[in-house]
Symmetry: C2
Subunit: 328 residues, 2 copies
């Protein structure tokens, strides 16, 4: 019997394990054009926190007492859609469960790029595409720019660091704690800030005495404020995520936001799905960088469906280095 | 003997009359290429508050115990620069004083557009150019857009309302109090919000049930937060001024800033001087609108050099409708 994590109550502030329950799924008859998939890896991502609120956003909210959803890869074990054969590796959005039954139209066959399927939950999936299009399109970053990226040891951040180096930028990454900072350094960052070691505005000023051209924001809050404080004229900010804000009950306070005017800063929010028509470009560039070793992926893997909420909650306490995955 | 207002101390928070003193200026010998001007109108503008802080910005800070500066128009009364004759009407940046002695190269003859010289401190000066380039360039506003503009009864705001209507936009303006709201309505705004009458987030939601495409920000703070709350997808914000913030000791707090991501909002800071090479376009369009009556200017005029600080301080208590000027 397939099992799936259900959202049993909406969190206020930081979610807890009590917001979720693992329940058996009623076995659906495999209808025409339907496919059954045995999942091998599940993705947990910060954006899922937003879907737990009952507000209209770019994706609809999760429903109470319904199964959670999210990125997953797996193998087809039964198919009534002629486009899929038993044994095919697919990616889809019916994660948080061990087996999924879905219309063939909602599955994507994994492209034959010679990499592990789970990469399509990371560097070749939402994570990598978010880094790629956010950096190069939303922030118009280019060779020679000085880039600041927050959560640089995280899934998206570590991709941003490596793409920026491959493109010839000077990279300043922030992370929390010595171990993560070492990891960011190992990715090629020119300077690394341990945000737990002192006030960010000071550390960033020291790391970038001439200011920053580009800020890739994964966290909001103090990091965003420090970027306002040290932006050069005509700086561009790509706002990708605000992990500091997702669980915050209090409004975010900014001391340096007025520099948006004096420095003519451009702040651009974005979502990678806006660039889906251009995934070909992304697969070509990112596939090339992975093949050449210019971009390396590192995952934090949690074992077992039972631990999916734990993996998700770990995103907010900094438990992951690189992409956080659940292995089934 | 010429007199000028001097900055005698740097304000912390809201400036007061005690920060300024009116002093006689030592009579300088009129050197070669120098011009003496008798000022007729002085401009006071919110940006001057920023120059009172001792911080590097897009204009250098005012110096303590030195004369204040600012936009002014006047008549040449003596000239040792062959480019200027006695009787010429000129605009320049040596305001806050009754007479100015300046190098001819720092004066601009007022173009012969058949309008009052004082218009070049308003609709045809910094004020109008800020509205024009901010709206049409920084915010990329176009016909059919729904625009929200704060401080719509102010100098820049009232210009924005009229330019937007001339360009075929739907305009929602905010102002404080019934009298100012009536004025904004008289400029052609489709809807007017009295921000003193209730919470902005609610009022803006009512005025723009489908959301806003463009926000022209003159105030920051709660207005900016309300604009985040009601932005449509791909909304563009031009950040022109943050009058709520200039004197604030506390950081600005935002409850809806995360919508930058979900709505892919673009926030663009700007300063009109970036567009100086394009003033020809501006004179052509704005001159035409003034001639046709599509754009009307209204000033708040305070009489007498002695009252210059009072006029300046009035900008922060909402004493002005339209451009605030001092008449000498």
């Amino acid at each position: 019997m397939a099992r799936a994590w259900h959202l049993t109550s909406r969190p206020t502030g930081m979610p807890t394990a009590d917001n979720f329950a693992l329940k058996e799924l009623a076995q659906a008859e495999l209808g025409d054009r339907m496919v059954q998939v045995k999942n091998s890896y599940l993705s947990v991502d910060p954006y899922m926190r937003g879907r737990m609120n009952d507000v209209k956003s770019y994706v609809p909210p999760f429903q109470i007492d319904a199964p959670m959803e999210g990125g997953a890869v797996g193998e087809v074990i039964e198919s009534r859609d002629p486009a899929f054969a038993v044994g095919d590796q697919v990616m889809h959005m019916l994660g948080w469960r061990d087996e999924a039954v879905a219309a063939g139209t909602s599955l994507n066959k994994i492209p034959a790029l010679g990499v592990e399927p789970r990469e399509f939950l990371g560097m070749l999936g939402l994570t990598g595409a978010t880094a790629y299009f956010g950096l190069l399109e939303a922030a118009s970053a280019k060779a020679g720019d000085t880039l600041f990226v927050s959560a640089a040891a995280g899934a998206v951040g570590s991709a941003v660091v490596q793409i920026a180096k491959a493109k010839g930028m000077t990279v300043i990454g922030s992370a929390g704690g010595a171990e993560k900072c070492d990891y960011v350094r190992s990715l090629g960052a020119d300077q690394v800030i341990d945000y737990k070691a002192g006030p960010l505005v000071k550390s960033l000023g020291k790391a970038a005495p001439d200011g920053i051209d580009v800020y890739f924001d994964n966290v909001g809050g103090d990091h965003l404020d420090a970027a306002f404080a040290h932006a050069k004229q005509n700086a561009r900010f790509a706002i990708c995520g605000m992990i500091d804000v997702y669980n915050a009950a209090e409004p975010q306070a900014f001391r340096y936001i007025m520099r948006v005017i004096s420095m003519r800063i451009r702040v651009q929010g974005f979502i990678y799905t806006d660039y889906l028509p251009r995934m070909g470009e992304f697969y070509r560039d990112m596939g090339g960088w992975i093949a050449s070793g210019a971009v390396k992926s590192r995952d934090t893997v949690v074992d077992g469906l039972e631990r999916t909420p734990e993996a998700f909650l770990g995103l907010f306490s900094g438990a992951n280095t690189g992409k956080m995955l659940v292995k089934l």
